[in-house]
């Protein structure tokens, strides 16, 4: 009798433990999915880094010019447009709608990037 109670307690504890770990993992995955991987794009050496960024809707992205040269961040579709950013100056924009937003530097049109909002 005592042995069967012990086994039942052990099985119950195991079940609660596994359940707790599973729930924790689900919460962790959910929170990881809610948080964007990165919200900063660095402008350096005449390129945007990362050049393509995938974020959930509602994310605010900050572009920081780490280059010695002035740059701009201009949406190809006219959705956003920064002023001329000198060294260490920033530009932020919040992406509320899902879609693909290609952009470029209007001073150096070969510099291009893309934000994919899911």
């Amino acid at each position: 009798m005592r042995r069967s109670v012990s086994i039942a307690v052990l099985v119950g504890a195991l079940a609660i433990g596994i359940g707790t770990i599973g729930a924790g993992q689900r919460n962790f995955l959910a929170s990881a999915q809610q948080k964007p991987e990165t919200t900063e794009v660095k402008i350096d050496n005449f390129s945007f880094g990362p050049a393509t960024l995938t974020v959930p809707a509602g994310t605010t992205i900050t572009w920081t010019n780490r280059d010695d040269i002035p740059h701009t961040v201009v949406s190809t579709d006219g959705v956003f447009k920064s002023k001329v950013l000198d060294t260490d100056e920033k530009f932020t924009f919040t992406f509320s709608k899902a879609g693909t937003y290609p952009y470029f530097c209007s001073i150096h049109p070969k510099m291009t990037g893309k934000v994919i909002v899911q």
Binding site: N45, F46, I69, P70, V84, D86, S106, I107, H108, P109
Partner: protein
């Protein structure tokens, strides 16, 4: 892009200023060099070459100034410039004025016979070459031609 794709080259946004700027730079520096050689060797043909180069340089500054201002107004929507961009604009304007000044000195001398050119043109031509070089350096820096990858 194909190197002989004229349509793409001529209609490329913002590219014209970067292309056209090479003409007044080359013509002005060559003009000053011919002027120096003409003075040194006393050869009329070199003085004529200097005159032609300086006149062509002055004319070539016009489309360069226009395309530079258009790039500022269209690409940057006429934003208030600062830093390197402002310095490039100011030095570019000053260089153009000096090129025109040197050209006028030679034009006047040409009308009076072409033999007597005032000595004060030398510091103006020297300053012009220095400003053109500095403006070109800043322009190259802005366009990223000196980018090391």
């Amino acid at each position: 892009m194909h190197p002989f794709d004229l349509k793409a080259a001529l209609l490329a946004k913002h590219a014209q200023h970067v292309v056209l700027i090479h003409f007044p730079i080359a013509l002005f520096i060559a003009g000053v060099a011919f002027d120096f050689l003409a003075q040194w060797t006393k050869q009329r043909i070199l003085a004529a070459a200097a005159y032609c180069n300086l006149l062509a340089a002055a004319v070539a500054t016009v489309p360069v100034l226009i395309t530079g201002i258009l790039a500022w107004q269209w690409q940057l929507e006429g934003q208030r410039l600062k830093g390197i961009l402002l310095m490039h604009l100011v030095l570019g304007g000053a260089s153009s004025l000096l090129i025109w000044g040197v050209c006028l000195i030679h034009l006047r001398a040409q009308r009076k016979g072409g033999d007597i050119l005032p000595g004060y043109r030398w510091p103006i031509e020297g300053l012009g070459v220095a400003l053109v070089t500095l403006t070109g350096h800043l322009g190259g820096f802005l366009s990223g031609v000196n980018l090391s990858n």
